[in-house]
């Protein structure tokens, strides 16, 4: 079935869409039995070099409840100059402009060009060095802005100062008390519905005002997960509520809020997370503004495409139109609902639901939404063979050039009767997409529910999927087989369970919020890396190769390169570390060793240069304290409990009581085949 892999890949490249199922079960009942819902990861602004903007208005279906856009999937009657909407089957006339449309004869451009607005919101309560570094970064960013861009500056400490730029002789600012919840944010009122980026630079937690995170006195530690669980964090709820209101307001007016938080301790990202989460802003967490991590990351915000335009879209709205048999349940990602009811809105809400339109204030080429659908076709109304369901994604946004643009993505998938054609449905399973879609659901739940409940839910889903699609004899775990399209899925789930997205142990609330924020907006590839980090091995025994994320991969004569998305870690095995310490790399006769040492560093640099936000770069070795980052990620196949059973030569034992993938799988099989379940 290589064709499906290719199909999936092609679709992703062309449309920026990946579905959990590429053949859809044709009845509602069957669809619910598939365990993994029909859902898609959609990247609205997926970069495509071959996608020229069309400089005229799209043609819309004339049915007022539909208004779908004319697309290649529509049936066109060229003689009658009619086209049939593939969503509502309305037959539409082509507009007169289509008659003589040509390169030279284009309809009027949409709307005026709007300037970009960048508002710098700077915390002044930080060390001088940090402030200085931040200042330099901001000056750098100013040099990158187009000359037409509008710039604002707000500084805050105990009070908020809105600076009036462009005063001569005196520097003027408007000051507001930090403790007061002002009802009117001036700038927001001034530029409604214009793309604007509010960039907040935060050097520490808020200690006063409605969004305060921690008390004023240094002796009070900032809340931990432990405190939150025991309901001992008195500011969390109030703060979160405040920032949610703020984020909603910003989202309504179409403004993006970025948070750049640099401090050694937490800064209250837990409370503030909704600001970037709801507005499509960035969240960057670092130790100090004076680190390359922040500086590079911030610089990357202003990356430009080949046309010299920022890779950012503003004030986007995503509208989804579906054919009759399927409805949209909701979306999970950096968006807010626009509360637009329509015929294609499902009553069954998943994520941000109850609407067919969402606002995505900030869009980057990788911004990806998970969109969940519900098959509503009744069991007794079969769809004829060869019938296709269609979904249209209409994304309107303000391009960084100031233009308003619309991107229309229309896809169609075959229907199949799950009772007779279960194999073809199973074969269309995109386990990677499914893993991410399920992960988003789990993390979405984790934001509101208790951690163990989410894990239990995730486990149950996995077991049900195994029961549905595995081949086995009842009550015989050893007989369990999974087809290729499902084979990796349990492993993803295993790592997801261990990931910081669902495990809060050892992570501060801020870190959890930070990790979750990025997971919820990255595209499939990056998300997969986050769930299951990639491990490369470099050794003299051959070219660099990907190896299992397993403790058995940790060998003395290997260099490992691990990419967890947030961290790039180079680990030198025991022997390599000793060689390096002895300085062999500096001896001409051991040049090959120097090359070996250099190879992972070069690869790491490549990743470091392209990724946003820039990952933390860690160079460590066997026994090094930072090796813990590696040891905590790998599958603990060897632990202090079983290391001798596995042989002493291979791998490094992990001192943990966590279950290994093998144990996990054994249990899974046992439960899946159990007739009691």
């Amino acid at each position: 079935m290589t064709t499906y892999l290719e199909f999936i890949q092609q679709n992703e490249e062309r449309d920026g869409v990946r579905f959990s199922w590429n053949v859809w079960p044709s009845s509602r009942l069957e669809a619910t039995r598939m365990v993994v819902p029909v859902a898609a990861l959609f990247t609205p602004l997926k970069e495509r070099l071959d996608l020229p903007p069309i400089q005229y208005e799209p043609v819309l279906c004339s049915r007022t409840t539909c208004r779908a856009v004319l697309n290649p999937l529509c049936q066109v009657d060229y003689r009658a100059k009619l086209w049939a909407c593939n969503f509502c089957y309305q037959r539409n006339q082509f507009p007169p402009t289509y008659a003589g449309i040509s390169e030279l004869n284009q309809p009027i451009l949409r709307g005026p060009q709007m300037p970009l607005i960048f508002l710098y919101v700077v915390d002044t309560c930080m060390e001088d060095e940090d402030l200085q570094a931040l200042k330099e970064s901001m000056q750098m960013s100013l040099s990158l802005l187009p000359p037409t861009a509008l710039v604002g500056l707000i500084t805050f400490g105990r009070m908020v100062q809105v600076h009036e730029l462009g005063c001569e002789g005196i520097s003027k600012s408007y000051v507001f008390r930090g403790t007061k919840d002002l009802t009117a944010k001036q700038l927001q009122c001034t530029f409604p519905n214009t793309g604007a980026r509010i960039m907040m630079f935060i050097g520490g937690p808020a200690t006063q005002g409605p969004g305060m995170v921690v008390g004023d006195e240094l002796k009070t530690p900032i809340r931990s997960w432990h405190d939150i669980e025991k309901d001992n964090a008195k500011y969390v709820k109030k703060g979160t509520k405040h920032f949610e209101a703020l984020a909603n307001r910003a989202a309504t007016t179409g403004h993006v809020i970025d948070i750049y938080a640099c401090a050694l301790d937490q800064t209250g990202l837990l409370e503030m997370k909704c600001c970037p989460n709801l507005t499509g802003g960035y969240m960057v967490m670092g130790d100090s503004f004076n680190t390359s991590l922040f500086k590079q990351t911030f610089q990357r915000v202003f990356t430009k495409d080949m046309h010299g335009q920022f890779k950012m879209g503003f004030g986007g709205t995503l509208e989804i139109k579906t054919s009759r048999e399927i409805k949209v349940s909701g979306a999970i990602g950096p968006c807010v609902s626009l509360n637009s009811k329509g015929p294609c809105v499902s009553e069954n809400e998943i994520g941000t639901g109850g609407t067919c339109q969402w606002k995505i204030c900030g869009l980057s080429p990788t911004t990806t939404l998970a969109i969940y659908f519900e098959v509503v076709n009744q069991h007794n109304a079969p769809i004829p063979q060869g019938g296709r369901g269609a979904i249209q994604f209409v994304t309107q946004y303000q391009h960084s050039s100031g233009q308003r643009r619309i991107r229309v993505t229309t896809i169609a998938r075959n229907w199949a009767d799950a009772q007779t054609q279960i194999q073809s449905i199973a074969a269309s399973f995109d386990q990677e997409a499914a893993a991410i879609l399920m992960a988003r659901l789990a993390i979405y739940r984790a934001e509101t529910e208790e951690g163990p409940d989410v894990l239990r839910w995730l486990d149950r889903q996995l077991i049900r999927l195994c029961q549905k699609f595995g081949e086995y004899h009842k009550d015989d775990p050893s007989s369990f087989r999974f087809s290729e399209t499902f084979s990796l899925y349990p492993q993803f789930m295993f790592h997801l369970r261990r990931s910081p997205f669902l495990q809060v142990f050892n992570n501060s609330p801020d870190e959890s919020s930070y990790y979750r924020h990025h997971f919820m907006r990255q595209d499939l590839t990056q998300s997969l890396i986050m769930i299951q980090p990639i491990l490369y091995a470099y050794s003299f025994s051959g070219p660099p190769e990907p190896v299992l994320l397993d403790s058995s991969s940790i060998l003395a004569d290997r260099i490992l390169l691990m990419d967890t998305f947030f961290q790039i870690l180079i680990y030198h095995g025991e022997t390599i570390a000793q060689w390096r310490k002895s300085g062999y790399q500096d001896m001409p006769e051991y040049e090959n060793f120097r090359h070996l040492l250099q190879a992972p560093v070069d690869d790491a640099q490549e990743i470091l240069h392209s990724r946003f936000p820039m990952p933390r770069y860690i160079d460590t070795e066997h026994g090094g304290s930072q090796a813990r980052f590696l040891l905590s990620k790998v599958n603990p196949s060897q632990t202090h409990n079983n290391m001798y059973a596995w042989g002493q030569e291979s791998g490094a034992p992990i001192l943990t009581d966590d279950v290994s993938l093998q144990v996990f799988m054994d249990h899974l099989k046992k439960l899946a085949v159990s007739s009691a379940a």
Binding site: M159, C167, G169, I170, S171, K172, Y174, V175, R177
Partner: protein
């Protein structure tokens, strides 16, 4: 530490043995110039005046000669300055140097001791004879008057008849010759041994206050006789003369305040007034003299309505004389008077009575060999703290009596310990915040530019603790219209930073560091700012202002800086912007949109300065060319004047009476503590006393006013003023000791306070009734007004003419409120001038300017004259 200036002095303290409360007479601490002043000459009532200089009488030597001896003969043995006094000691005859020129002209050179004593004797003579002053004034020199003394009726020198139609004027005011006149030959029975005189008989005491008047008499008599042919030789009965009582009021017959003022000036002006004697009436406020503290506070600090209190409440009721003291604790003293000495007991702090908490003062009696002292106020016997112990001499006075200001002076200061500070923390130096209304009208009138320009000069002259040190006062700047603009003028800034606060509903100070700065350090930034402010708002069309938020902002700033301070608000319009404290126009609606419309609701806004010890300056319809000189002078004066912050005042009295009512720019949270955010040299608190028991003639009535405050340099201090009054069971004594100017001050304040809750008609009636009652009782027997109250009717008439007590539609409410407020904090000198302004003819020829023109009576008679007149209304209110 002032104490180090003290040296052990010879026991001249004996001199006052048996004087009880009367302190010794060397008010010349540390200042040899004063010490060596011709005491005899200058202190008519003082015992040392009687002591022939150089000739030490046997027995307890009077202090006078001693001082001479000390400064002359023993000078080498003692540092010349016992207290570090301000005027530097200079040479051999330094003693005389500091006296004002007027004095010197009267006594052109240091008088030889003999003449000094002669003069002293002469003066004594005079007041002795004054006591018998029933003699017709026109008959011969006073020295020759020999009527029986002790008679104690009202001094008839310039008697007035009560009946309105027949009031008789004193002699014409050609007083200058009085000054120049050589002392009368010393005949008469002047007792050189003046120690015997006090404790003075009431009459004598009074006399001591008045003798100079007689001095005038010699030359003036002819005039007097001309004007009032009917002298009053024996009494009213014999009053004969053209103006019979029934006749229409003859303007010339009305007692002339000018006459009284000039008489007092002639007789007492330029002299030394020593405060040694209990109950002596000081010279009038209009009279320049040198006050020497000899155990009682200078009249500059405390002036009473009467210097003799009735013994009983019944008597007080009968007399209806208000018993009040006008206290100006920070009054400015002229440079030729000794400033207050500072006492520092280190960590021990001031010595106080355990029971009533009165501070150590000359009224405390040391007993049991100095181990204990008895409080003069509550009679409680207290242990003397070990550090304070000192042996007593054979007359029961401490050996260090002369070295400690608190034992021998009426006024002095203590360094307060941390116990007297808020939160037991030393205070920070105060801050001045300049808050300028930059709304359209203020910009347009040019006032903002004027202020900014002037501030550059004014800021150079911020008040300072020590003249040689830079001022510790920090300054801050705020401008406002309907929003507030704060300025960061930190010294390291290249240009000032402006911070706008729009949240006037809940105003706050947007910056801590850089708002209040040291002027010297931030001078360039401040000048930069002051240059820019008029430009910045030049195009402003904003004509709405806020007021309450401005004050709140200033308060918050001071609170944040944890310091006391002063807000200088330059406000020009009714605060109509939407904010707390918004006001509506309550004035005449017909005037709206006319030129006359200029209403800022002084009654409401003025409460702020009034309750915080501030000053309200008001300029009607400010016009640059007319008002700027006055405005600038007010501004300079206000910034530079001496001021104390965070003050709390307590007036303690000896048993038998107590302070019951207080008027002034004060806040009281209980019945005794007078709280003042600030008090400056112009502010007075008028205190009314009432009996709660009997007073005895022996012990008199003692008053101690203690003000705890923070100096301009940020030091916490206690300023103590002590005053002893006499008591009498004779009504006549009371009237004789009355002080009309203080009475008017009291009446004005109590009436102005009453206007808030009583109808004007009633207030006016009360004033008239009480005045006539007082005058009637005073002259019950003779129908002659006592000298001390002669001009009371005229002054009362002036008070009744004050627009505050008139209700006429053409008087703007702002003006009434303003004048009311102005008077409420006035001292006696100011209120005198306010209610009886100076009317001066302006000489037609320039060369005539060399001499000060004589003051004219305020009477319609002078107004039709073609002469140009200048009215010196009050320093704050130029006549327009």
């Amino acid at each position: 530490m002032s104490q180090q200036g003290y040296v052990a002095t010879p026991p001249y303290s004996q001199a006052q043995s048996g004087m009880g409360l009367t302190p010794p007479l060397y008010g010349h601490y540390g200042d040899p110039s004063h010490a060596g002043a011709p005491p005899g000459a200058m202190k008519p009532a003082g015992p040392m005046g009687a002591a022939p200089g150089g000739v030490l009488p046997p027995g307890p030597p009077p202090p006078g000669p001693h001082q001479f001896g000390q400064n002359g003969a023993h000078a080498q043995g003692h540092p010349p300055q016992r207290f570090p006094g301000p005027p530097p000691a200079s040479g051999a005859p330094p003693s005389y140097a500091p006296y004002p020129p007027a004095t010197q002209s009267s006594y052109p050179s240091p008088l030889p001791p003999a003449s000094v004593s002669q003069l002293g004797r002469q003066l004594d003579t005079m007041h002795i004879s004054y006591g018998s002053g029933m003699a017709p004034p026109g008959q011969g020199p006073p020295g020759s008057q020999s009527a029986p003394s002790g008679q104690g009726p009202p001094p008839p020198l310039q008697p007035s008849i009560l009946q309105p139609g027949s009031q008789v004027l004193p002699p014409p005011p050609t007083t200058l010759n009085g000054l120049g006149a050589p002392p009368m030959p010393p005949p008469g029975p002047a007792p050189p041994n003046a120690q015997l005189q006090p404790p003075p008989l009431p009459g004598q005491t009074l006399g001591s206050g008045y003798p100079p008047q007689q001095g005038n008499y010699g030359p003036q008599m002819p005039g007097a006789q001309l004007a009032y042919p009917g002298g009053f030789p024996g009494g009213p009965a014999q009053m004969a003369g053209p103006p019979p009582p029934q006749r229409k009021l003859d303007p010339d017959a009305v007692p002339s305040p000018i006459q009284v003022i000039e008489n007092d000036r002639a007789t007492r002006g330029g002299q030394v007034y020593a405060t040694s004697t209990r109950g002596q009436v000081p010279p009038l406020v209009t009279t320049d003299c040198v006050v020497q503290d000899q155990g009682n506070a200078s009249p500059r600090y405390i002036r009473c309505t009467t210097y003799c209190f009735p013994c009983t409440a019944d008597m007080a009721k009968q007399a209806q004389i208000p018993l009040a003291a006008v206290i100006t604790p920070f009054a400015t003293v002229p440079s030729n008077e000794t400033p207050l000495y500072l006492v520092n007991h280190g960590e021990a702090g001031p010595v106080r009575c355990n029971r009533c908490k009165a501070y150590m003062c000359p009224f405390m009696q040391f007993i049991e060999g100095g181990r204990r002292f008895q409080c003069g106020f509550c009679s409680c016997v207290n242990e003397v703290p070990p550090f304070y112990f000192q042996h007593l001499d054979h007359v029961g006075r401490r050996l260090d009596h002369g070295e400690r200001p608190e034992l021998s002076l009426g006024s002095y200061e203590y360094v307060a310990t941390l116990d007297y500070c808020r939160k037991n923390k030393p205070p920070n130096p105060p801050a001045f915040i300049f808050m300028i209304d930059v709304s359209y009208s203020n910009i347009k009138s040019g006032l903002v530019r004027l202020i900014c320009e002037e501030l550059k000069t004014v800021l150079e002259r911020l008040p300072r603790e020590e003249p040689e040190l830079p001022s510790a006062v920090r300054v801050g700047f705020v401008t406002y219209n309907k929003v507030l603009h704060f300025f960061n003028v930190k010294s390291n800034l290249a240009q000032p930073q402006m911070m706008v606060v729009t949240d006037v509903g809940e105003v706050f100070v947007p910056l801590l560091d850089g708002f209040l700065v040291n002027y010297q350090e931030s001078q360039s930034v401040i000048h930069n700012l002051l240059d820019q402010i008029p430009e910045m708002f030049a195009d402003s069309n904003e004509n709405e202002t806020v007021f309450a938020p401005v004050i709140q902002a200033g308060m918050e700033a001071l609170k944040a800086a944890d310091c006391p301070g002063k807000l200088l608000i330059f406000h020009s319009s009714l605060p109509t912007a939407e904010a707390p404290g918004k006001l509506r126009n309550r004035d005449d609606k017909k005037l709206i949109n006319t030129d006359k419309e200029k209403y800022v609701d002084v009654a409401s806004l003025g409460l702020v300065p009034q309750l915080t010890g501030g000053t309200l300056y008001k300029y009607n319809n400010f016009q640059m060319h007319l008002d700027s000189p006055q405005f600038l002078s007010d501004l300079r004066n206000d910034v530079e004047k001496k001021i104390g912050f965070d003050a709390i005042m307590r007036v303690r009295t000896s048993t038998g009476f107590r302070a019951t009512d207080f008027f002034g720019g004060i806040v009281m949270n209980n019945t005794t503590d007078v709280e003042m955010a600030a008090i400056d040299c112009d502010k007075a608190v008028t205190v009314e006393f009432r009996h709660d028991d009997k007073l005895s003639e022996d012990s008199g009535a003692l008053i101690q006013c203690a003000v705890l405050y923070t100096t301009i340099g940020g030091q916490r201090r206690l300023r103590i003023h002590n005053l002893a009054l006499s008591c009498s069971a004779q009504l006549a004594d009371l009237y004789k000791s009355c002080e009309t100017d203080a009475l008017i001050n009291f009446f004005a304040k109590s009436a102005f306070k009453a206007v808030l809750h009583q109808p004007l008609k009633l207030i006016r009636e009360i004033l008239v009734n009480q005045t006539s009652h007082m005058l009637a009782s005073a002259s019950l027997l003779q129908l002659i007004l006592p000298d001390s109250m002669k001009v009371l009717p005229v002054y009362m008439n002036s008070l009744l003419k004050s627009c505050v007590l008139l209700s006429r539609p053409d008087i703007p409410t702002d003006e009434r409120a303003f004048q009311r407020q102005l008077v409420m904090t006035m001292g006696v000198a100011d209120s005198q001038l306010f209610f009886y302004p100076q009317l001066l003819p302006i000489p037609r020829l320039a060369h005539q300017c060399s001499q000060r023109p004589a003051r004219l009576e305020i009477s319609y008679r002078f107004f039709p004259s073609p002469r140009v007149l200048e009215v010196n209304y009050c320093q704050q209110l130029p006549f327009r």
